[in-house]
Amino acid sequence: MAFVRLEQTALAYPTRDGDVLALDNADLAIQAGEFTAVVGPSGCGKSTLMRLVTGLRRPTRGHVIVDGREVVGPLKFVGMAFQNATLLPWRTVLDNLLLPLEIVEPHRSNLRRRRREYVAKAEHLLETVGLARFGRKYPWELSGGMQQRVSLCRALIHEPKLLMLDEPFAALDAFTREELWCVLRDLWQEQRFTVILVTHDLREATFLADSIHVMSARPGRILHRHEIDLPRPRDLEICYDQRFVDIVHTLRQQIKGVRQR
């Protein structure tokens, strides 16, 4: 039984010129613990897909099922990270990390009693992403790459079963981006949460994911699903492997085809 399932899902936005179909007849099945990537031309409704799965928007047609239940309102356990780190500048890095615990139950009720434990957990998480001893700093004292690491940590602090990433590394330089691929890879390898990564970086998708979904131009449909069976754990060197290059090439061709249609 899939952990996340979309069945014939469609979403239309009302605009002044009538309804615009952002997503049409999308079918998707993601297993628990699977790392999936969604790629497609820009404006194909990738972000819409994110909002549907998390319940921030209701579909116009079809079903969204997460963890065996139909999604009717915002889910209450999803970790999210975006292209902007969206950290709160008046909170230290550590306090930014604790923010989800101030909201998600049961942590919310336990926060006062178990604060010390939570702080230790946040500090451990910071250490695993290479930011040990940065807890007392403010976000604006950190570089863009460091902020994005903190944003990842914030998305994971409450050990969510589902992690939604919307182009989280798009604003970073190439070297920092590859570094963060590895950070995410290691975190996932260790905790095995389910990930939906929306990206337009085909190498990023191929390097990180178990499966890749290719979407069509608007209205978005899911056209292909690729299983990426490159061996794990993967090293950055794999990006120069012939099989890796072939996968990226195939994806590239498919998206090119979609854009020209």
Binding site: L56, M80, E102, Y138, W140
Partner: protein
């Protein structure tokens, strides 16, 4: 300390002194009659002579201004949060608020006098009416410019509207709020003095009017200087408070918040 530091420190004093100097010299050179523009030396002399009157009336004006201002802070915060909270409340209240703000407050004073009689109440209420608007607008703006992504992050964790407001919206709008206080306190002075010149028996505004009626022109200018000093003092207090409370906003810039 470096030279530039000293120059920057001294610049406002030098400029202000220079201004008074130009005023003094022009009065003598162009032989301006005293009842048109008295030289500052005479104004200060007169201020010293009437020091107890100026002091007492200043205290009255200060009290009415602050009373009106604090009413504006409380009311402005509540209304600003309400307007920033929901688009419906925003849509409902905004036209009325803008219209209300457009009415010159001096035109409202006669009505206040009609209701509350001559004295401090109209001055307090005028100060309140004139200074709450910038607070409302700024607090509402601070809430409205919250990034949608931040809201998504919290909603996907099961946050209620109240959580989002307390954790993000309100702290985020604090710099806007404190910035508006500097504007509001200066406006509150305008309000209370305007009201005092129309209908009061105490306060700087009333003193100005009485001095003018008696042709005590130097005292009129003395009153103006007293008002300026009070205004600068209040502004400085709130500027320091702003820095203290929301230093992070000066360093980070809200845009990449």
């Amino acid at each position: 300390m470096t030279r530039t530091w000293w120059i920057e420190r001294l610049a406002p004093w030098v400029f202000t002194l220079g201004l008074f100097l130009v005023w003094e010299v022009s009065c003598h050179v162009f032989d301006v009659p005293r009842f048109v523009l008295p030289p500052p030396s005479l104004v200060f002399q007169e201020m010293w002579y009437f020091r107890s009157a100026i002091w007492n009336n200043s205290l009255v004006t200060l009290w009415t201004t602050l009373a009106g201002f604090f009413m504006a802070v409380v009311f402005g915060l509540i209304l600003g949060i309400a307007v920033g909270w929901s688009r419906t409340i925003y849509a409902a209240l905004y036209p009325v608020m803008v219209g209300f703000n457009a009415i010159p407050k001096v035109a409202v004073v006669p009505i206040l006098v009609l209701w509350f009689g001559i004295g401090e109440v109209p001055a307090i209420l005028t100060a309140f009416l004139i200074s709450f608007f910038p607070i409302v607008v700024n607090v509402a703006t601070g809430l409205a410019t919250m990034e949608p992504e931040m809201e998504d992050v919290l909603r996907a964790l099961g946050a209620k509207k109240m959580d989002i407001m307390l954790k993000v919206g309100i702290p985020r709008s604090l710099p806007y709020f404190f910035a508006s206080l500097k504007v509001a306190i200066t406006l509150a002075f305008v309000g209370s003095v305007v009201s005092e010149t129309v209908a009061a028996n105490r306060g700087i505004g009333h003193m100005l009017l009485a001095a003018q009626a008696n042709f005590e022109v130097p005292l009129v200018f003395g009153g103006l200087i007293a008002l300026a000093v009070l205004g600068i003092g209040m502004y400085a207090i709130f500027a320091v408070l702003e820095r203290r409370m929301t230093g992070w906003a000066f360093r980070s810039g809200l845009n990449n918040a």
